[in-house]
């Protein structure tokens, strides 16, 4: 295992890919891998690209890969598509739009199925980003699943969140939804070749004025991703935000808070694992019977399980 991690750290693509698979499959090696890689992480700029289905996230990412690669960056991409709730399988198709970078040594693209996660990411997305970070990528783009509440989850793991909107998709109403304005660091109104761009841009700016309390004022870009219009300016904003984070207290706070969240999440996961194991041992039809007949209650049962877990550890 150490050999595989060593090769990954030296930038070997196959080893990096292997390690991500191991972590994604929750292999018993996960902890060892993450512990070894962790000291090497913390250098990359993690950029989230989120927005409704079909808004142009993959097309934008493709153009951004090009832009950052040209500036001499090693680029990593993690693109998440939904897994089927029925079969657990998935068709991961985001990278279709990025295939011209497939053979580029300085670009690594990885597709992930959401595997039951609802927040627009998969459970292992953050670990995958950390792996790419530790293995030398300078900038990592994470394309979320284009659904619902993905915006909130991406905020937890990305340094910079870009929210993609499209004119004429009812996104203007979405914008007003509480929370969204605070989440995005950069707004992108894509498909600017369509009617109604100016209105969406104006509405976003207006809404921003209402919530403005931060030292970073989110820029609003209009782009035509398909043609590459507006991408240079967008890339500049992404770099500016990175710069802002590195010199502001807000940026420092963000990174420190993320570490707190990380510990909390590991704790929750580990505790859940112990209690689940114990519960699976105790979950007999007889116990359910006695619950059903009200001879005992769920609180007492849960309490006893917790007690046993605590005593054993």
């Amino acid at each position: 295992m150490q050999e595989l991690v060593r090769k990954a750290l030296s930038g070997d693509t196959r080893s990096i890919a292997r390690i991500i698979t191991l972590v994604e499959n929750e292999s018993p090696y996960t902890e060892e891998i993450m512990k070894t890689l962790y000291p090497h992480s913390g250098k990359a700029h993690i950029v989230g690209i989120t927005g409704s289905p079909g808004s142009g996230k993959s097309t934008l990412t493709d153009k951004l890969i090009h832009e950052f690669k040209e500036k001499g960056n090693k680029v990593g991409v993690i693109a998440i598509d939904p897994s089927s709730p029925f079969s657990g399988g998935a068709i991961l198709a985001d990278r279709i739009r990025m295939q011209k970078h497939a053979v580029d040594r300085n670009v690594y693209i990885r597709s992930m199925g959401s595997r039951g996660s609802l927040g627009g990411l998969s459970k292992s997305t953050y670990e995958a980003a950390l792996i790419l970070d530790a293995c030398g990528k300078d900038i990592i783009f994470i394309e979320t699943v284009g659904v619902g509440q993905s915006e909130v989850d991406i905020m937890k793991i990305a340094d910079t969140v870009c929210l993609v909107l499209v004119p004429g998709m009812g996104d203007d109403i979405q914008i007003m939804k509480a929370g969204i304005m605070e989440i995005a660091d950069i707004f992108i109104v894509n498909k600017a070749d369509r009617e109604g761009v100016e209105r969406v841009v104006a509405e976003v700016k207006m809404a921003l004025d209402l919530v403005q309390k931060r030292s970073w004022i989110p820029p609003v870009h209009s782009t035509i991703a398909e043609k590459g219009n507006g991408i240079t300016e967008l890339a500049a904003s992404i770099s500016n935000h990175h710069e802002f984070l590195s010199i502001s207290t807000e940026g420092l706070e963000k990174r420190r808070n993320r570490l707190v969240t990380e510990v909390e999440e590991i704790l929750q996961r580990e505790i859940a694992r112990f209690t689940e194991e114990k519960w699976n041992q105790k979950k007999t039809p007889e116990l359910i019977d006695s619950l059903y007949s009200r001879n005992t209650d769920p609180y007492t049962v849960a309490g006893r399980i917790l007690e046993e877990v605590l005593l054993e550890n």
Partner: protein
């Protein structure tokens, strides 16, 4: 380990712009619980192999209608060899004459599925092939 999802690249090399067959097999593999990385049309062997490596795929499925199957299979297998990645299973379908199949298998293709093959046959074959490969890797 039930967690270990099978990951397959489904690619359509060559210049003809027809990927209905590729999409049908992609959906069948997904419905069998696999993760299918769909790369779209007109992929070069280099793109297909680099994609398989970045995605840590167990297998590459290619759909060829153009008649250039000999070239694509030999090139893909050659590139896999260069990358020391011959453990990645290569299989194909499309319109490949029966007479050409033995040569492709000799080259290292895992299986060639003719036009009449049901998706179930293909799915079952791939499942057992990946299982075989993983057992071998564990040893």
């Amino acid at each position: 380990m039930t967690h270990e999802k099978i990951r397959v690249i489904v690619a359509k090399p060559g210049l003809d712009g027809h990927d209905r067959g590729a999409k049908v097999i992609a959906r069948a593999l997904r419905d069998a619980g696999m993760e299918v990385i769909y790369t779209g049309l007109r992929q070069t062997p280099e793109q297909i192999v680099d994609t398989a490596i970045q995605e840590d795929a167990d297998a590459i499925g290619i759909s060829i209608l153009s008649g250039a199957h000999h070239f694509y299979f030999s090139r893909i297998i050659e590139l896999l060899k260069e990358h020391e990645a011959l453990d990645i299973i290569v299989f194909g379908g499309g319109v490949i004459p029966d007479d050409d199949v033995p040569a492709l298998l000799a080259m290292g293709a895992g299986a060639i599925f003719g036009p009449g093959t049901t998706t179930t046959t293909c799915v079952d074959w791939l499942k057992s092939k990946v299982h075989e490969k993983r057992t071998l890797e564990m040893a």
